[in-house]
Symmetry: C2
Subunit: 343 residues, 2 copies
DNA sequence: AGTCATTTTGCACGCGCGTGCAACAAAAAA
DNA sequence: TTTTTTGTTGCACGCGCGTGCAAAATGACT
């Protein structure tokens, strides 16, 4: 505590600029900024001298001024419109870590209220972000349009979701390949009456999981499985939907597996099966998810699910940011099925 | 899709400045910026004229330049070092919403790796954030010191956690009052052998929950309850700790209630009681939490817990940001006990 | 029409750094 | 030593807006 006050009192003036450092180190201001710039043309001796003076004065370059002068902010806006899915927390962690480790900062923009989306995007563009990232949200055309028409718009990246929109860069797992792997697993394990539990359908960038699953099942077994949609990726809503759909149903007509569009739905489904329908997982009804959230490996879920390579995807995202090109940057990744006990 | 391309093609030049608008509206550049500034001295007619020209040109003020010139960025850094607790997602949502609704933007800084903390804080200070907010994290003295010595440091706010540090503003629930309410409830319901499950102990800003609970119990019943600490607020770690602590114990010596420092621990505890110890909640062992995360009301937890008034706290935080004062801004809030079925 | 109080508008200067080129110094080749 | 090559440093100008004050315009009141 005493140390605190010492530090506070000793604190150097807050407004140290490159000029001050330049004076102290006997060089020009430009040399000072060079010292802080990687790969700049400066001799090691001078850099050393400058850095020492900078340390003594407590100088660090002002990123606002740098952004203004260079027109590159090294800042991205991350739009999130869904805070109910714990997987978002994992994504935030991975993305912020990958970005920060390579010099990028993240503006977190809450677009949970659809009305907030357009103003929030406009605001981000006023900060002159170098890119706008939409993470796996249920954004619609309106949001995309707002993002696109915003001033100084540079890159619009859709993360963990595919979009066929040509003005957009999407970085996601290959839904068709993933769903195909899941479907094959379900068939091999001998499940016969699947129920597909999907999230909300969006226009601009929906997941191709449900369609792929239904199509594959139709193709191989010539029947179309039942499917149910939930208006949000929320475990409680999923539990409600499962309960309503199945509670009055005779045991013989129950599905033997519920394939969920993601883990949030899958976890709610397991809860409903156990606590509202009074059945067992996987014995009575199996469940399979998508994402591999941390809870999936909890001993009382042991959820079989598909894991996305989030770290790779996040790193690729930074590659995209640092790339000057604008086209053909879309890319899909492959994850893997993590088999546990729920299916 | 066609509309997209139209928009893209019609897009106005990205570098519209106030000068362009000024020329179009036949006023000076300063008048243009006045039109965008609330409470500025400008006549309604002129403002109208300017705004119309601005709309046509698609002009919005550049916040980088504004921040540089005014030395106020309306930007805060939000430091998070714990992405395992779903409650963080709720906090992020509440904070970003409150901030944005009043014109503030949020820089999300991941300090999960302790080594990243100091550089990340330095970086935020290079962006000249108006405040640094630590949200309920296990930050230690080192992080506080880094935040404090950073250049251009303005306000350091500790959210949802109390700190006795004088250079810090803390906005949190009153842990003592809350724990007192919880303790009273536990006693009234006739529980006799509580086990307190705590998270990691930190030096700078720890929760006063455990100490208060133990002290109150000691005071009223003259016995000190057993307590266990977990190295992180992680449901799986809590489940492990509970299992290790209780699995070999004769039934008569088991606690009749486990009081948890927060919901992340409580949820893990319930899982462990049910699935690893094979006991029932609350019949064999009751559980009580803290935070009221969304999952707490899920039908298969029905967790009795203490809800923090996050929205009020977030709004107060913005009040603090907009306040010029620096001292005596600390404040504690009162939440309420949400009684469900787990205790 | 003239005076004065009150808005409303214009402007010089500064915020701190990047860009690109010119000037300079140092090391390499002649 | 002189010339060339390479490496290093300095600088004019601009990025877009805020601050504070002075000039101009407006309106109220004789």
């Amino acid at each position: 505590m005493t140390e605190w006050h010492r530090l506070k009192k000793d604190a150097l003036p807050a407004n140290v600029t490159a000029d001050d450092v330049a004076a102290a180190a006997n060089v020009s201001r430009w040399t000072v900024n060079r010292a802080f710039k990687k790969d700049a043309s400066i001799s090691p001796k001078t850099r050393e001298k400058v850095m020492q003076a900078a340390n003594e004065l407590g100088y660090l370059p002002d990123l606002r001024a740098a952004a203004l002068a260079s027109d590159r902010s090294h800042l991205v806006a991350l739009l999130v419109d869904d805070f109910a899915n714990p997987h978002k927390l994992v994504m935030l962690e991975r993305l912020t870590r990958a970005l920060r480790s390579r010099g990028w900062d993240t503006l977190l923009v809450n677009t949970l209220n659809r009305d907030d989306a357009a103003p929030a995007i406009a605001n981000a563009s006023q900060r002159r972000v170098d890119a706008t990232i939409l993470i796996g949200i249920q954004f619609d055309d309106e949001v995309l349009r707002a993002a696109h028409t915003a001033r100084r718009f540079k890159k619009l990246i859709i993360f963990a979701r595919t979009s066929e929109n040509p003005d957009t860069i999407s970085i996601a797992v290959d839904d068709e390949a993933a769903t195909s792997e899941i479907t094959q697993y379900v068939m091999e394990r001998g499940y016969e009456r699947p129920l597909y539990l999907a999230g909300p359908r969006t226009v601009s960038a929906h997941l191709k999981r449900k369609e792929t699953f239904l199509a594959l099942w139709q193709k191989h077994l010539n029947t179309t499985p039942e499917s149910v949609s939930v208006p949000a990726y929320d475990a409680n809503l999923a539990a409600d939907a499962v309960t309503i759909t199945l509670s009055e149903r005779p045991k013989a007509e129950l599905p033997d597996i519920i394939v969920c569009e993601n883990d949030a739905l899958a976890l709610g489904t397991i809860d409903a099966i156990r606590h509202r329908l009074g059945l067992r997982v996987p014995n009575d009804i199996a469940v399979i998810g998508f994402d591999d959230v941390p809870q999936a490996e909890s001993p009382n879920y042991r959820l079989t699910t598909y894991r996305q390579p989030l770290t790779d995807m996040a790193n690729y995202l930074v590659d995209v940011l640092e790339n000057v090109e604008t086209s053909d940057l879309d890319r899909t990744f492959c994850g893997r099925l993590v088999v546990r006990d729920s299916a």
